[in-house]
């Protein structure tokens, strides 16, 4: 009896590690991030949009939620469209911040801030799957591109949480 139990345990141990190591099947075949537009009055350097776009793509790749992170305006097969996401967004607000306020007052006063609204929609029917609102605050001494990095991380984190909760609700 003991031998059988040990054999069963050995078989169990041999079979389970590959199952654990195997990456889960991505929920979506592909995702496309668009360059984010800017609301009126948002004064950021022209290179900021490119940098935010690059950071967002890098974070989407790291998230492993999607089979492929495709480029902007890339052709997608019609058969793959229902399993493809498109992320569009707008930079709604940017405050430069003040080094003087930050130094004299502190406690968050004079911080540089960025607000971004984004939507993730299914490519086939343009149905909105999730709405994302991100507010990033950094020191006014830091480069504005650091905000892009934090914003991209936040967007992908919110997207990941939303898609996971949706998948749980569906199952």
């Amino acid at each position: 009896m003991k031998v059988i139990t040990l054999l069963a345990l050995a078989v169990f141990l041999v079979w389970t590690p590959p199952a654990i190591a195997k990456d889960p099947q991505p929920q979506f075949k592909s995702v496309e991030a668009k360059h984010f537009s800017r609301a009126e009055g948002v004064e950021l350097s022209p290179a900021f949009s490119d940098y935010l776009y690059a950071e967002l793509r890098a974070e989407l790749t790291k998230a492993k939620l999607f089979g492929q992170v495709i480029g902007e305006d890339e052709v997608v097969d019609a058969a793959d469209a229902p399993k493809s996401l498109v992320i569009v967004g707008t930079i709604t607000e940017f405050k430069k911040g003040s080094v003087v306020k930050d130094a004299l007052i502190g406690f968050g006063a004079g911080m540089r801030s960025l607000k971004v609204d984004a939507n993730a929609a299914r490519r086939s029917d343009q149905q909105n799957l999730t709405a994302i609102h991100v507010h990033v605050k950094v020191s006014p001494r830091w480069d504005e591109k650091v905000m892009a990095r934090f914003a991209a991380k936040n967007i992908v984190k919110q997207l990941k949480d939303s898609l996971k909760s949706e998948a749980k609700a569906a199952s």
Binding site: H35, S37, R38, P46, A47, S49, D50, Y51, Y53, A54, E55, R57, A58, I70, G71, E72, D73, E74, V75, D143, K145, V146, A148, R149
Partner: protein
Amino acid sequence: MSFSRGGSLKWCVLIACALLTTKAQAEDPKPTPENTIHVQLAEPVKPQTFSRPLKFFLVDVVDRSGSAQPMMVFKPRGGIFLDHTPTEITRAGLEACLKSVDMLAKDRDSADFLLTLYLFNFGLSESSKMDFFGKVEFAVMLKNPKTAKSQQISASGTSIAGVAFRKKNLQKNVQEDIEHAFGDALRNLLRGVKLRDAVAALDGPADVPGIRAQPAGTATPTAIEKPPQTN
């Protein structure tokens, strides 16, 4: 305060050292086998399929970056250089992609479309200092030799890579970053909606009304300008 003979000699040596160091730092880094990287596509990008089999011929690749040292991609820490010019790398990459699916014409006469590529950016762009931001940006003039009509398509590729402290890792990261950005730009061109639409517009008969293509001559190489940054 008094200066002894030994003391003044020390001051002279110190000043001479300071001047020499400043001069050495002011000099631009030079390419050596140790600080030179080889950029190429890991694997060719598979172009999209068109309604009929098409052949493209790459006429020319023109550097419009305006950079005095196009092969130097990173200046600090002794510099990092490319082993070939960006135009040569771009030509080789694009031709390899077209060749991989038999879409590269042997000569101009056998081509359905002629491509002239204007390179605006190849290498690293300004980043947040916490990572490297690779960027490749170009415009392609697509011309139908039969109808003499042409249309411009822009494409760009970006990539983010982590910074490194060791020079060896730094070079590796920069190389990978540029390779990813380059692959991304070629993918943006060859699998993009813009190319599909341009081919659809130019591939039609010469006298079809409503074609947005420009007649040849209106888009001379000097008229090609860097596309405006997205705002």
